[in-house]
Subunit: 572 residues, 2 copies
C-alpha cells in the first residue's frame, strides 16, 4: 500500500489502489465520456498505467491475454457503446476461465432515475439492459448504488474474479468517482485463499483416489486448460515427479508441464493424436485428468476412447470419480492432500514407456530449396523457441499447428481453443506482452496468426508500438480463411480476403518505435532467419510474413476439418 | 423473381431470394463455420453479392449505413463469437431506427439437443444465451426449429424489420440450410404496407391538428431523425410547400428537407442553435414535430424551450398532441390525411420570416495564409458538397461541425447522434458506398472522421478498396479524442492516441485499387484542393488528412461540452 494516503480518498482512487494490490499494473480500455473522470485516478497510483487500446474488443482480448500471464486483469469501458463492443472478448474469458474485472462507467444515478434520453442509450429509457446482457457472460455483476457499501461490493467482485477466474461486471455511476471513502480499507489486503473443502467429502475423494491408484497398473496424468488457469501446475508437476506416471496434455493444456520432463508423453487429442500417444492414453487403466475443458477442438471432436472406466476428473470447483460428482470439492486442496499421501500407494509401480512422438521436432528433414509446408514449419519452430517464451497461436491453422511444436521449459502457450474467436490473439498478444514487460522485459512474446484473422483486430499492433513492445508477429499469408476452406467451401469466394501489403502495416502503426519487416517462403529463408542471432533477440517490433499455399494446413487440422464436415453432413 | 427456379429450393436460397426481393443487393458479414454452407446460396441469387467484411462490428455498421440508404439491410454472422462482436452495431441500429436483418448460423438442432461442448459456446451447454442477449436490442427474434413453418417465420421477421425499421434476430441451425421449401412461396411478394390506423383515433388526431393550425399565427415544422428513417420526407416536403410554414431540422433530422428550400430556416438544437434559429422556433405558437428522437446531443442537452404548449409530435407508431398520446396512430397515414386537408385552414396565413443564419456558409472569409479553424472548415465544406452526395460525419467534432455545413439538394447526411459509437462511420461509409454503387455509381460518398475514431474500425477501408469504391476519407488529425478533451481531461494522457502515419493506410489496404493520399493544413491548401476539378470527381479512393490543433473544435461542440461537464459536476 502506498504510504501517506490521506485518510479519505476518492472512490476512483480506491478502485485502482485495490486493483494494484492484486498485481494489476496495467488497465486496459478505451476512454468514453462516462468513464473519463474515473480514468484520472489511474495516474494517481504509482506503478499503474492506462494502456489506451484502439478499440474495446481488442482491449478485452488484451485484458484476457494479460490475465493469462498475471492471473487477473481489468478492463474499463463506457456505458452502452463501449461495453457492448467488448462482449465477445468477455464471453471468451468466461468460456475459458480467465479472471477479468470489467468496470463500466455508467450515467449518474440522477440521470438514470430521470430515464433521460442520453446518448449511448437505446432511446427507450431502459438503463439496465446492458448490465443484463453482460450478466449472461459474467460470474457476478453489480451496479453501485450506495457509497456506504461500495467498497465492500467492489471487493466482493474483485475477489470473485481472482478466485474463480471468470469475468465480473461492475457498473459505476459517474457521480461516485469522486466520493470519498476511508483509505484505511486498503490496509487489509483481500483474502484470496479458496475456502476449505467439506472435510468429509474431501476425505472420501482422496481415499477413493488413493485406492484406485493402488490398484492401477498403468495410470496416466492428463493436464488440461484449467490446470494453468486455476494455478495447480506446481501441484501437477509434483504429483508427476512423485508418481512417475506418464503425463499428457490436451491442446488447451499445452504448457501445463515442461515438455522436456522425462515423463512427458505428448498431446492427446482423441483420434487426432499421434498413434503412440493415443495408444498410451487410451490403454491406461486409470486416467487422472486435471482441469479438463472437453470441447470439440480440444478433444478431436469428442473422440476420446479410454478403455477404462477409471477416470478421475479434478476441477476448480468439483471432483468427479467415475460417475460420482463431488460438488464443491476443489482440486487445489485435493491435489495438495495427494502430494502428501500418494507416494506409499505407488511404491511398487514400474513406470510405463513414454511415447517417442514428442521428439519428432528433433529429426525433421531440411531440403533448403523447397517451399515448406505448415507440417514442417510447426516442427521447425520448436528450436526457434526458447525458455520462458510466451507463444500465442490464433484460432485457425496456427492453433492446430502449434500442437506439434515442442515447447522449451517455462514456455507459456496461449490459444483460445474453446471460444475460438478469430482475431483474439492480436489483442491477447498486446496484453501478454504488457504483462511480460512488467515481469521480465527480456521475455519474448511471439504471435502466429493467419492473414484472415489478422484483419479483424490489426489496429492493436499500434498499441504494441505505443508501449515499445518488441513482439514477434508471424503472419501466415495464405490469402484468406484456410481453416474455413477445409471445413466448407475450398474454392468459395467468401473464404477469400482483400489482399493487404503487410509490409505497410508497421510503417502505419509504429510511430517512433523501431520495427523490422521480414518475409520467408522457402526452407532456406526460414533457416537463415531462425539462425540469425540478432533476429533471436527481441530488440524491435518485427513482422515476419510467411508465404503459404492456400490449401496447405497442418495434418491434424485437415483431419479435424474432415470430422467437422462429416458431422455437419450427417446432420443435414 | 428469377425465372426457372425449380419447384423446390434449399431454405438458404429462399432466404437470399426473399432478401433480394426486398431490395437488398449486398449481404454483409464474416464467414464462420456455422454459416459457411448458408453463404453458398448468396452466389446463387443473381445480382446479390457477399461483402466479406473485415470484422463483425464493422459489418454491422456497414449494414446500418446501407440500410440508411436503401431502407433495409442484412448481416450474417456465426454463433457466439460472430454475433456478439456485432452487438454494439445492432444496438445502434435499434436506438436509431434502422431496419437490419441479423441472420446467425447456429449449431444444428441435434448438437443443441445434446448440449455438446462445442467451440464458440460458453462451455456450459447453454445454447440460448446469445439469442437472449440479442433480444434486448432487437424488435423480434426467432431461432428456426421446424422446416414447415420456417418460411413464414422468416417472412414475419423480414417484414417487421422493413416496416418498423429496427433490427431483428434470426438464428438458423446449420441442418436447415439445404432443406427444401417450395419456390412458389416467392411468387407472393411480402406485403410491406403499414396497417391502417384505428379510424376513430386517426380522425380525432387529424381534426385536432387542423383546428390547432387554423388558430395558429406562426407555426413551424421541425423535422427529426425518424422523418427520414420512416420514410415521410416526401410528405413533409409537401406539407411545407402547402402550408409555407418555416421548416427547421434537428441535428439528426439534417437532410430531411432540402436546405435550399425557400422556407428552410436552419438547424434547431435548443440553446446550441444560432440565436435567430432559436428565436424563430421557440417563439412559434405551434410546433409540428415530425419523427422526433429527443436525445441529449440532438437537443442541446434537452434545452428546448418552446414558449407554446401547442406541440404536435408525429411518430412512426403514435402521435402526441400536447399531453395526449394516441398509441398506434402512425404518422404515415396522418400526414397523408393532412396533405389532403390542411390547405383550407392555412388560407389566411402570412409566412413568417425565415432566419438568415443558414446562409452563413456563403460569406465566410478566406485568409489563405492562415491555419484554419474547424469553425471555418465546416462552413467551407458547404460549397465542396454537391447535389446527391452522401455525407457521413463521425461522432466527435465532425458530427457537431457538420451541423454548420450547408447541404445541397438531395444530400444525405449520416451521423449516429443518439447511439454515438465512435468508429461507426468507417463501417457505415462502406455500407452507404455499396448502396450508392447499386443506385448510382456516380454518387459521391464522403466521410469526415477524427484520427481517434478512425483507429477503432480502420480495417474496413480495405473492404472499400475490395469493391472498387471511390470514397472520400477526410481524416481530421488532432492527435486524439478532442470531443473527450472538451468534456473532461483537456491535457489528460488518456485522450491521446498512438500517432499513425495515415499516408501508409491506403497503401496497406488498397490492393490493386487506385488511391490518392492528400494533406491540407492551411486555408490556401483547402481552397486549392476544393477548386481542383479532378479532385471533385470520385475517380479513386482518397484519404485527405486535415491537420488541426488539438483543442480546436466547432463552437457548438465547445458549448455542448461545457453543458455536459457542468451537468456531470452538478451530480457529484
Amino acid at each position: 500500500m502506498p504510504q501517506n494516503l490521506p485518510s479519505e480518498i476518492p472512490l476512483g482512487r480506491f478502485i485502482f489502489e485495490r486493483l494494484h494490490q492484486l498485481g494489476i499494473d496495467t488497465i486496459f480500455g478505451v476512454p468514453g465520456d462516462f468513464n473519463l473522470a474515473l480514468l484520472d485516478h489511474v495516474y494517481e497510483v504509482e506503478g499503474l498505467r492506462w494502456a489506451g487500446n484502439a478499440n474495446e474488443l481488442n482491449a478485452a482480448y488484451a485484458a484476457d491475454g494479460y490475465s493469462r500471464i498475471k492471473g487477473i486483469s481489468c478492463l474499463v469501458t463506457t456505458f452502452g457503446v463501449g461495453e457492448l463492443s467488448a462482449l465477445n472478448g468477455i464471453a471468451g474469458a468466461y468460456a475459458e476461465h480467465v479472471g477479468l474485472i470489467h468496470i463500466v462507467g455508467v450515467p449518474s444515478i440522477a440521470a438514470t432515475q430521470k430515464q433521460l434520453l442520453l446518448h449511448h442509450t437505446l432511446g427507450n429509457g431502459n438503463f439496465t439492459v446492458f448490465r443484463e446482457m453482460s450478466e449472461n457472460i459474467s460470474l457476478t455483476s453489480t451496479v453501485l448504488s450506495d457509497l456506504a457499501t461500495a467498497p465492500s461490493e467492489l471487493d466482493r467482485c474483485f475477489k470473485a474474479a481472482v478466485i474463480h477466474k471468470r469475468p465480473v461486471y461492475i457498473g459505476i455511476p459517474t457521480n461516485f468517482f469522486e466520493d470519498g471513502v476511508a483509505s484505511s480499507l486498503l490496509d487489509t489486503p483481500l483474502d484470496l485463499a479458496p475456502k476449505p473443502n467439506d472435510e468429509e467429502a474431501e476425505d472420501e475423494v482422496v481415499d477413493t483416489i488413493l485406492e484406485m491408484v493402488g490398484k492401477s497398473k498403468n495410470p496416466v496424468w492428463l493436464l488440461d486448460a484449467c490446470c494453468t488457469r486455476h494455478d495447480v501446475k506446481e501441484e501437477a508437476k509434483q504429483l508427476v515427479d512423485i508418481t512417475q506416471f506418464p503425463v499428457f496434455v490436451t491442446p488447451m493444456g499445452k504448457s501445463s508441464i515442461e515438455e522436456d520432463h522425462p515423463r512427458f508423453g505428448g498431446v492427446y487429442v482423441g483420434t487426432l493424436s499421434n498413434p503412440d500417444v493415443k495408444k498410451a492414453v487410451e490403454s491406461a487403466d486409470l486416467v487422472l485428468s486435471i482441469g479438463a475443458l472437453l470441447s470439440d477442438f480440444n478433444t478431436g471432436s469428442f473422440s476420446y476412447s479410454y478403455q477404462t472406466k477409471n477416470v478421475v476428473e479434478f476441477h476448480s470447483d468439483y471432483c468427479k470419480i467415475k460417475q460420482a460428482t463431488f460438488q464443491g470439492v476443489q482440486m487445489k486442496h485435493v491435489l495438495a492432500r495427494l502430494i502428501a499421501s500418494i507416494k506409499p500407494v505407488v511404491k511398487s509401480y514400474t513406470p510405463a514407456v513414454v511415447p517417442t512422438s514428442p521428439q519428432a521436432w528433433k529429426t525433421i528433414s531440411h531440403d533448403p530449396s523447397t517451399k515448406f509446408t505448415q507440417q514442417w514449419l510447426w516442427l521447425r519452430i520448436s528450436s526457434f523457441l526458447k525458455e520462458g517464451d510466451i507463444v500465442l497461436s490464433e484460432t485457425g491453422t496456427s492453433a492446430f499447428g502449434i500442437i506439434s511444436s515442442h515447447f522449451p521449459k517455462n514456455t507459456v502457450g496461449i490459444s483460445q481453443v474453446l471460444w475460438g474467436s478469430i482475431g483474439y490473439t492480436v489483442g491477447a498478444t498486446l496484453g501478454a506482452a504488457m504483462a511480460a514487460q512488467e515481469i521480465d522485459p527480456s521475455k519474448r512474446v511471439i504471435l502466429f496468426i493467419g492473414d484472415g484473422s489478422l484483419q479483424l483486430t490489426v489496429q492493436e499492433i499500434s498499441t504494441m508500438a505505443r508501449w515499445g513492445l518488441n513482439t514477434y508477429l508471424f503472419v501466415l499469408n495464405n490469402n484468406g480463411y484456410t481453416i474455413e476452406r477445409l471445413i466448407h467451401g475450398m474454392t468459395a469466394q467468401y473464404n477469400d480476403i482483400q489482399i493487404w501489403d503487410h509490409h505497410k502495416m508497421l510503417p502505419l502503426f509504429s510511430g517512433n518505435h523501431d520495427y523490422e519487416n521480414l518475409k520467408v517462403g522457402t526452407v532456406a529463408e526460414v533457416e537463415e532467419l531462425f539462425n540469425d542471432a540478432e533476429f533471436n533477440k527481441p530488440s524491435k517490433l518485427r513482422m515476419i510474413e510467411i508465404m503459404l499455399d492456400e490449401k496447405d494446413a497442418p495434418d491434424n487440422l485437415v483431419k479435424q476439418a474432415e470430422i467437422t464436415a462429416k458431422t455437419n453432413a450427417a446432420q443435414n
